[in-house]
C-alpha cells in the first residue's frame, strides 16, 4: 500500500531539490558557460569583472532580475500572460524526474524510475510548446505572436524525428525505462552512440531544434523578432522563461547521455562524476554548434525535419527491427 502523506512530502522535497539543481547548475552556471564558451570561440574574453574570472556574473544578473519590475502590457491577456512562463519552467523541471544521475551503492539516483520513462520525457518536452505559444499570444504583440507560431511549427516538426530516435533506442534496449536503457549499454562499444549511430545523430539534431537553439533559434531570432515570444516579459518572468529553456537544454543533454552515451557508466571515477562529465560534454557540443553556425531559414528548417530526418528515422526503425528480429 502506498503511504500517501509520506509520498507527497517526498515529492515536494524532491521538487525543491531538482528546481534548485536546475536553477543553479542549469540556468546560472549554464549562462556563464555559454558566455565563456562563446567568448572563447569568438576570441573574446567573456564576462571577467564580477568575482574571480567573472564567476559571479550570473549571480549578479540573477539579483538584478529579481529586483526588476513586473510589467504587464495593457493589451495583454493577464491570466495567460502570467501563467505561460510557469508552464515552460515546470515542464522543464518535470523532464528531470526520469533522468538517472548515477548510482549510490545499489540504489540508482533517480527521482522515479517510471516504466514509461522516455514517453514521459517526450511528453514533457511537448508541453513546453504550449507555454511558448500561450506566452507569445497573450503578449498581444505581433513579434511575440510570430515567435510563438514559429516555435510551435518547429517543435511539432522536430518532435516526430525525436520520437523516432527514442523508438529505435527503446526497440534495441527492449524497455522504455531510462534505468533499463542505461543497463542495456555495456562498455564503450555497447553504448547506443555506436549501436544506434543514426538515431544518435537524429536525436542530437532534433534535440537542438526542440530547445530552440542556434541554428534552430527562429522563434527567438533577436535580429528579426526582438527575442520572439518573450519580448514583453520582464524581470523574474523573463528569468523563468530562461530557466525553463536552460533546464530543457540540460535535460536534453542529460537524456542524450542516458540514451546514447551509457549514462552513469564509466571506469574509475564515481558514477555521478561520469554522468556530469558526459552531460557537460553534450552541453559543450550544443554551445559549440550555437557559436559556429548561422540561423536556418524557416523553409530549410522544415525541409530538414520532414524530408530528411523523418524518413531517415523511419528507415532506421525498419533496420533496427530487422536486426532485432533476425
Amino acid at each position: 500500500m502506498v503511504n500517501w502523506p509520506l509520498e507527497i512530502v517526498k515529492a515536494g522535497l524532491l521538487a525543491v531539490v531538482i528546481f534548485t539543481f536546475m536553477a543553479i547548475v542549469g540556468a546560472m552556471f549554464g549562462v556563464l558557460l555559454e558566455r565563456k564558451v562563446g567568448g572563447w570561440i569568438q576570441a573574446r574574453l567573456g564576462p571577467k569583472h564580477v568575482g574571480p574570472q567573472g564567476l559571479l556574473q550570473t549571480v549578479a544578473d540573477t539579483v538584478k532580475l529579481l529586483q526588476k519590475e513586473h510589467i504587464t502590457p495593457r493589451a495583454a491577456d493577464v491570466a495567460i500572460f502570467n501563467t505561460a512562463p510557469l508552464i515552460v519552467a515546470v515542464a522543464g523541471l518535470m523532464s528531470w524526474i526520469v533522468i538517472p544521475f548515477g548510482t549510490l551503492g545499489d540504489r540508482v539516483l533517480i527521482v522515479r524510475d517510471l516504466n514509461i520513462g522516455i514517453v514521459f520525457f517526450a511528453a514533457m518536452g511537448s508541453v513546453t510548446v504550449i507555454g511558448i505559444l500561450a506566452g507569445g499570444w497573450a503578449s498581444n504583440n505581433k513579434y511575440s505572436l510570430l515567435g510563438g507560431l514559429r516555435s510551435a511549427s518547429q517543435m511539432i516538426s522536430y518532435e516526430l524525428p525525436l520520437a523516432m530516435a527514442l523508438i529505435a533506442v527503446a526497440m534495441e534496449a527492449g524497455t522504455l525505462s531510462t534505468v533499463g536503457i542505461v543497463n542495456a549499454q555495456e562498455g564503450w562499444l555497447g553504448s547506443f552512440a555506436f549501436r544506434q549511430f543514426p538515431a544518435f545523430v537524429i536525436f542530437l539534431i532534433s534535440a537542438t531544434a526542440e530547445v530552440n537553439r542556434v541554428p534552430f533559434d527562429l522563434p527567438e531570432a533577436e535580429s528579426e523578432l526582438v527575442a520572439g515570444y518573450f519580448s514583453e516579459y520582464t524581470g523574474m518572468r523573463f528569468a523563468l522563461f530562461q530557466l525553463g529553456e536552460y533546464g530543457e537544454m540540460f535535460a536534453m543533454a542529460a537524456m542524450t547521455t542516458t540514451l546514447f552515451l551509457g549514462g552513469w557508466r564509466g571506469p574509475l571515477l564515481p558514477p555521478l562524476v561520469w554522468f556530469l562529465l558526459k552531460m557537460y560534454a553534450v552541453v559543450f557540443f550544443l554551445m559549440w554548434v550555437r557559436w559556429t553556425y548561422p540561423r536556418f531559414r524557416l523553409d530549410q528548417l522544415l525541409n530538414l525535419s520532414w524530408k530528411v530526418l523523418l524518413p531517415a528515422g523511419l528507415v532506421w526503425i525498419l533496420i533496427t527491427g530487422y536486426r532485432i528480429t533476425f
Binding site: 516504466n115 514517453v119 511539432i156
Partner: protein
C-alpha cells in the same frame, strides 16, 4: 483513501476546466483550458494503472492536438486579437444534447454489472498494448492506419490546390 482523494481532485480539475472550455467567451482561453482537462484525464489513467496510455495522452492530445488547435486559431484572422469575443447561439441545444448523453451513459453504467476482470494487471502495459495491436486487434490497427494515411493525403491535396 489517498486514491479517493486523488480521484476527487483530478475530477474537479477535469470538470472545472471543461466548463471553462465550453463557457469561455475567448476562444484561445477555451483552447488553453483543454490542457488541464486533458491532464486531469491523464491523471485518471494513471490511477487506473494505465501509465502508458497516460503518457501518450499527454504527448498526443496536449503536445500535438491542442497545439494544432491553438495554431489554427492564431492563424485565422480574428483569433489573434485578445479582445475578440465569440458568441455561441446554440447553448440550449448543446446543453440538451449533453444532458441526453449524460442520462444515456449513466443508464448504461448503472445498468451494467461490472465483473472484476480475470487475472492480474500486467506490470508493464506498453508491451501488452503492442502485442495486442499486432495480434488480435491487427485488423483495426491496419484499417485505422489506412484512414489516417488517406486523411494525410487529403490534407496534402487540399493544401496543394490552394496555391
Amino acid at each position: 483513501m489517498g486514491q479517493l482523494a486523488a480521484f476527487i481532485i483530478l475530477s474537479i480539475v477535469t470538470l472545472a476546466s471543461a466548463v471553462v472550455v465550453v463557457g469561455s467567451k475567448n476562444i484561445v482561453r477555451s483552447a488553453l483550458s483543454l490542457i488541464p482537462t486533458l491532464l486531469g484525464i491523464a491523471g485518471l489513467y494513471i490511477l487506473l494503472h494505465a501509465e502508458y496510455v497516460a503518457g501518450i495522452q499527454v504527448l498526443i492530445y496536449i503536445g500535438a492536438i491542442t497545439v494544432l488547435i491553438l495554431f489554427v486559431i492564431m492563424l485565422t484572422e480574428q483569433g489573434t486579437g485578445a479582445r475578440f469575443r465569440q458568441v455561441n447561439e446554440q447553448v440550449l441545444a448543446g446543453v440538451l444534447a449533453a444532458a441526453v448523453l449524460a442520462v444515456l451513459l449513466m443508464a448504461v453504467f448503472f445498468g451494467t454489472t461490472w465483473a472484476p476482470g480475470p487475472g492480474a494487471l500486467p506490470q508493464y502495459t506498453a508491451p501488452a498494448i503492442g502485442s495486442t495491436f499486432l495480434s488480435s486487434a491487427i485488423l483495426i490497427f491496419i484499417v485505422t492506419s489506412f484512414v489516417l494515411l488517406v486523411a494525410l493525403m487529403g490534407a496534402i491535396v487540399i493544401a496543394r490546390r490552394e496555391r
